[in-house]
Symmetry: C2
Subunit: 203 residues, 2 copies
Amino acid sequence: MRKISDSTIRRLSVYLRFLEQAKSPTISSGELARLGGTTSAQVRKDLSFFGSFGKRGLGYSVPELTRRIRDILGLERGYRVVLVGAGRMGGALVQYHGFRQRGFHITAIYDQDSRKIGSRWNGLVVRDVKHLETDLKKDPSDIAIVATPAESAQHVVDRLVRSGVKAILNFAPVPLNVPPDVEVKTVNMALELETLSYSLANR
Amino acid sequence: MRKISDSTIRRLSVYLRFLEQAKSPTISSGELARLGGTTSAQVRKDLSFFGSFGKRGLGYSVPELTRRIRDILGLERGYRVVLVGAGRMGGALVQYHGFRQRGFHITAIYDQDSRKIGSRWNGLVVRDVKHLETDLKKDPSDIAIVATPAESAQHVVDRLVRSGVKAILNFAPVPLNVPPDVEVKTVNMALELETLSYSLANR
């Protein structure tokens, strides 16, 4: 399959949300476009990546399209996710309902702060980060969420990568170096506000 | 000034981070590229949007480039930001250092839950959301952060828009309808994990 752009993947995720809530058995590209804030042409282009869906005039079959997008996004399996950093952001993420709904299960939380280690968060006991490698050897995870302070993030990421983690969602406000076979997404809240500030300044 | 793409704006934000930490008076496009995870050609292209910076062989003047990017991003002024939704995510955002560093000051927090109203968060008292309109009339804000449950988000946004808010950072997992003169950015944590899941599934 040829490489699909990040923005297409994001739109597929958005379409999937609406498909999962759809009440009728078919949906048109126009309806998906309206819900997803894009155009029918864009919807058809996005879906054309995966061969021929839909019948002219009848729209897309909701169950088929749901299944295909879930398959494309790799959501048909569940993922074990470890979280490093039991701070404010970590706390918000552990409680985030959207993860579990999508098959992302946070299975362990780590911190280096002795005041946090041993406390119970959403049914999980915060573990000392010194156990990270041995735990991951026993119970491998594909995905890790890093919500540590900026200064510890790269060290944590190096340890995760050595332990076989292949995808990292980073909330530390710092870019991370990883080998080419590891994927990192950095979520930077301040950066999101800056794009808003730009639009306010350039109205 | 012609319209600059969202991805350029994001890279400018990233360059700004490194410029603010730079220790020498000049920086080359190669160095900015290395720090920002892009190419020199991309850096030069991004900066060329704003006229001629830099001298061949000497690199960019750090103070000048810093000032210009801050100006472009509209960061030379501070912003008052109201937060609606005093849940887990709201709590993490209130404590987020990066906002204040960038001139985004959360000046009020609202919720509708009587158990939260009146509690003190980071020096701010959580206010009843029923006061939203009267407060914004007295102390207008350009930017709001919405961190409510999905089902209340659109109603809150409608009220913010009627009160003159022009830019919204949305953490509720739902797309929002706003008039054309209002800018919304939605941060969807599950969607970030889905782009990682896609890359794991299509290695």
